[in-house]
């Protein structure tokens, strides 16, 4: 029963969603709305699950003095700092209103730190490009040339370098052609492949053929 009930629920919900797509009338649209509302509620509860799991893992690491345990302590302190600031120090206003401690932490600590971590990628990408973009083979050369033209064409410098060419034949035009023709064709092929894979896997899950989802083999 431990596997049969989840499989039965999966099949019912899956078929309802498929049928209501083609027959958006009663009673299927009512079922769809009910299941969607239930999903939104479960998704909201899942946030709590993630938070509690994070606290549990971080606390265990701190307690056992595991590798890099000070960072786990920082995670726990950061979590409680922002939760307490939002819940108890908003001065009667909504906790996300401008001027509240929560807003101050978000704007002055979280936003700059997040943006900084992401900005570090620029340096690593530059270093990786220098090492990876070598014309070792025909395919690597094609990749190198495409990257070369797209990088230059995506900034005004590309058109500056080719300003002596007539309009319509400059680097930005070549970049647009690369993005609109071969790149789009490749993306379409990948999308269709992924969509077919999703359809196939979804049908297997709904029909109970794919049992790994519910803990089977």
């Amino acid at each position: 029963m431990r596997r049969q009930i989840p499989q039965l629920l999966t099949a019912i919900v899956g078929f309802v969603y498929i049928i209501q797509f083609f027959i958006p009338h009663k009673p299927f649209n009512l079922f769809e709305r009910m299941f969607s509302d239930w999903f939104l509620i479960i998704a909201a509860c899942a946030i709590w699950l993630g938070v509690l799991n994070l606290l549990k893992l971080s606390s265990e690491k701190v307690y056992k003095r595991g590798k890099d345990w000070p960072y786990s302590l920082v995670s726990i302190c950061g979590f409680f700092l922002i939760t307490i600031a939002g819940l108890f120090f908003s001065g009667g206003r909504h906790f996300q209103d401008p001027g509240t401690p929560f807003d101050y932490v978000y704007v002055n600590i979280f936003t700059p730190l997040s943006a900084t971590m992401f900005a570090l990628l620029a340096f690593f990408v530059a270093s990786a490009s220098y090492r990876a973009f070598r014309a070792r083979s025909k395919e690597a050369t094609l990749l190198l040339l495409a990257g070369f033209f797209v990088m230059l064409g995506r900034v005004p410098v590309g058109d500056l370098i080719t300003s002596w060419l007539p309009e319509g034949y400059r680097l930005s035009n070549l970049t647009d052609w690369i993005m609109n023709v071969p790149q789009t064709a490749g993306q379409r092929a990948i999308m269709i492949g992924i969509a077919l894979g999703i359809m196939s896997t979804s049908l297997r899950v709904i029909l109970g053929i794919e049992r790994t989802i519910t803990g089977g083999e």
Partner: protein, 281 residues
């Protein structure tokens, strides 16, 4: 070690240094750049300009602070366009920090005298409905009922009490959707559900990494316009006549791209010279 062999394996800290210089030095320079408008950004701008005053625009903030340097300028530009043309703006987020980014964009706009004098009224000219978990199921649920999906706004006010939300049931009551997206859930899910299923009219602003993924939707007509990365932000700003961070930061991006390309050329030159010598010996 021979010179060209050294060039093939430059210490990455040297590369980091030059990239850092390329990014920082432009802040102290005053060099203008010619920004060419791409057809996708032009189509996005035209879509906004075709909306009559009073039209309802749903702006979805599906990004967080790491993607803000690319998307926040576009959000600010779009909000300017909406307030200038008296379009009504409904803001939501499928990412938890989306609504906070929306508030930051509004704060930037309302710090200007032009918009303080104009006095857009919350609940009448714009509203922030906040975040809803559920990813693409949120979009599907909005197709049936937007008030049921977002029963309260960002501050907890029931939507029945918000004048702007009167008469809004689903996507058929929304004139244009403008999606700002950095990943999942984002433009792809909005096209799959809002555009394909519920026939919403939609434009998008994406990060430079995600923009290539949605080009097929532009060519299929499912997306009415696309603005990608900081270049897209600069183009959008140029079309609206407002010089913002998208335009200002393009100089740094230009310099950085040139530095990366120079290093690639150095690496390949050293590679070919070294390989030629190995073959001859």
């Amino acid at each position: 070690m021979e010179f060209f062999e050294k060039l093939m394996s430059i210490d990455r800290r040297v590369i980091f240094f030059f990239v850092g210089v390329a990014l920082i030095v432009p802040f102290f320079l005053d060099i203008g750049q010619k920004i060419e408008i791409s057809p996708e950004v032009q189509a996005l701008y035209d879509a906004f300009m075709e909306l009559p005053p009073g039209s309802k625009v749903l702006m979805t903030f599906d990004y967080d602070p790491p993607s803000a340097p690319e998307l926040q300028p576009q959000a600010i530009t779009a909000l300017r366009l909406c307030f200038d043309r008296n379009l009504k703006v409904i803001m939501i987020g499928l990412w938890p920090m989306g609504p906070m980014q929306a508030n930051l964009a509004l704060g930037t706009i309302f710090s200007e005298k032009k918009y303080l004098d104009k006095e857009p009224v919350y609940g009448v000219d714009y509203v922030n409905l906040g975040y809803s978990p559920g990813n693409e199921l949120v979009i599907q649920r909005m197709g049936s009922s937007i008030p049921a999906t977002f029963p309260r706004d960002f501050q907890g006010t029931p939507v029945e009490e918000i004048p702007l939300m009167q008469g809004i049931v689903n996507f058929s009551n929304i004139d244009f959707v403008f999606n700002l997206s950095a990943g999942y859930p984002g433009t792809v899910e909005w096209v799959q559900f809002a555009v394909d299923r519920f026939h919403a009219r939609m434009g998008a602003a994406n990060t430079a990494v995600q923009a290539p993924l949605v080009y097929p939707y532009v060519h299929a007509g499912q997306l009415t316009g696309l603005s990608g990365g900081m270049k897209g932000a600069a183009e959008f700003e140029k079309l609206t006549g407002f010089i913002g961070k998208g335009t200002k930061f393009m100089l740094s991006q230009s310099f950085a791209h040139v530095i990366v390309i120079l290093f690639i050329i150095i690496g390949n030159t050293a590679y070919f010279v070294t390989r030629g010598r190995e073959k001859r010996s």
